[in-house]
Symmetry: C2
Subunit: 228 residues, 2 copies
DNA sequence: GTTCTTCAAACTGTCGACAGTCGGCGCTCG
DNA sequence: CGAGCGCCGACTGTCGACAGTTTGAAGAAC
């Protein structure tokens, strides 16, 4: 992308500039209007967004900690590039975290949690019918985030939140995405059922299958099996 | 090779103020010269360190992402407070990550890795004899970091690095620390032996025991069993 | 004596500016 | 014709300053 993306960034003029800049940058990276490996100029971004360099710098640092940017000293920030090894690593860590979250959650599952996850699956189904890929990814991540919330370990939730930004990048990276409404429902409903069974082994098997499918889907970057 | 001498010249970078400020702040927090919950004034810190507010802000943001500070909008930064629930969460996540790292590593363990871990245990033993608590903690963390390095998943390593800052805080929180040289050696040697066996079950049991002991040690904050 | 109001001090969020540094381009030299 | 050197532009790292906000307390009202 060349440097004339002034039109791409809606003008922003309220407090929380850092967060707004971070959101705009994140969206631009996910939408691939900023190409992987592309160098970001602080002054240019500041000009384009109509703010000074300070909020841009802080937002960039934030995105660096989230793994969306990498910084090289004295050279500035670059859009993170993900190779296939990175994808494998991300999904391997995700598997590690989700196994644990599901194990924790299975031991403290309540009807209220069951209802909440049920509602979320319905939302995902509705969104899938609309066909907005971005929202599909968001609602999918929201389902899994709910699991981590309910699991009860705040530090584990934070680890997932950290990883989720890279996950979002991975999912968006394959361009068009995500399965039909039916497979999304069945895929996630299986997870809820495993939780409801209270059996740790059921949960682990369901999670391994679910994450494995998502990983293969992203890594192959083609086929249209169930969702992630 | 244009990079032939790179290794010969140890980090000559004097410049990076942000990193220096971050190091000073980190050390002060770990050493509890800054009390948990204490508010940090940017201007005051900048004055005390003889720099401007910009590097202080960036360093503070860095430490926030590491979980050593928390920021409240328009109120500034506060030293992170850890309650017993936080400790439990941290060690639960650590258990999750280390289980996975050991499982990965057991499947790719080489004699070179064995030697490296062996050497590290010897270093830890020497340091333990000296009695410097800070260095004991550092070398202990270095052992576990080696395991994550060898495990081969860079994203998993990053997750451990993120967590390690809070771990350091937890360990320093209990003030005096860490067992005698003998128990440190036997405790970590058991981990290496489990890795060498190549049996995933051995590894998991060894890790569960090792991390469990460390967790109980920190949470109780008193007893002098083996190390973490 | 207690509570609400008001006010000043301090602080954060943001900005524009300056200096040192890095990468690229042309020039010189072999 | 290729390689090394030095200059130029652009950019990052850092700084001091300004404005709006929060804090804490002094003072007024009850």
């Amino acid at each position: 992308m060349n440097t004339k993306h002034a039109a791409s960034f809606p003008s922003l003029r309220q407090s929380n500039l850092v967060e707004q800049v971070a959101d705009v940058l994140t969206e631009a990276i996910i939408a691939r209007r900023l190409e992987p490996g592309e160098r970001l100029s602080e002054v240019q971004l500041a000009r384009d967004m109509g703010v000074s360099r300070a909020p841009v710098r802080e937002a960039a640092r934030l995105l660096e900690s989230r793994g969306l940017l990498v910084s090289r000293p004295r050279r500035g920030f670059f859009v993170r590039e993900l190779d296939s090894d990175d994808l494998a690593d991300v999904f391997d860590l995700r598997l590690c975290l989700e196994r644990h979250a599901f194990q924790l959650l299975a031991a403290r599952f309540t009807p209220e949690m069951h209802d909440a996850l049920h509602r979320q699956v319905e939302i995902m189904c509705d969104v899938a019918k609309e066909g907005d890929d971005g929202r599909k990814i968001e609602e999918d991540l929201r389902f899994h985030r709910l699991v981590f919330e309910f699991a009860g370990n705040r530090r584990l939730l934070k680890a997932f939140d950290d990883l989720s930004h890279e996950l979002r990048l991975c999912m968006a990276l394959i361009g068009r995405t995500h399965a039909d409404p039916d497979s999304i429902v069945t895929s996630h409903w299986a997870l809820v059922e495993a939780l409801a069974s209270g059996e740790a082994d059921n949960c682990r098997a369901a999670v391994d299958y679910h994450i494995g499918v998502a990983r293969d889907y992203v890594i192959q970057g083609i086929a249209p099996p169930p969702s992630g």
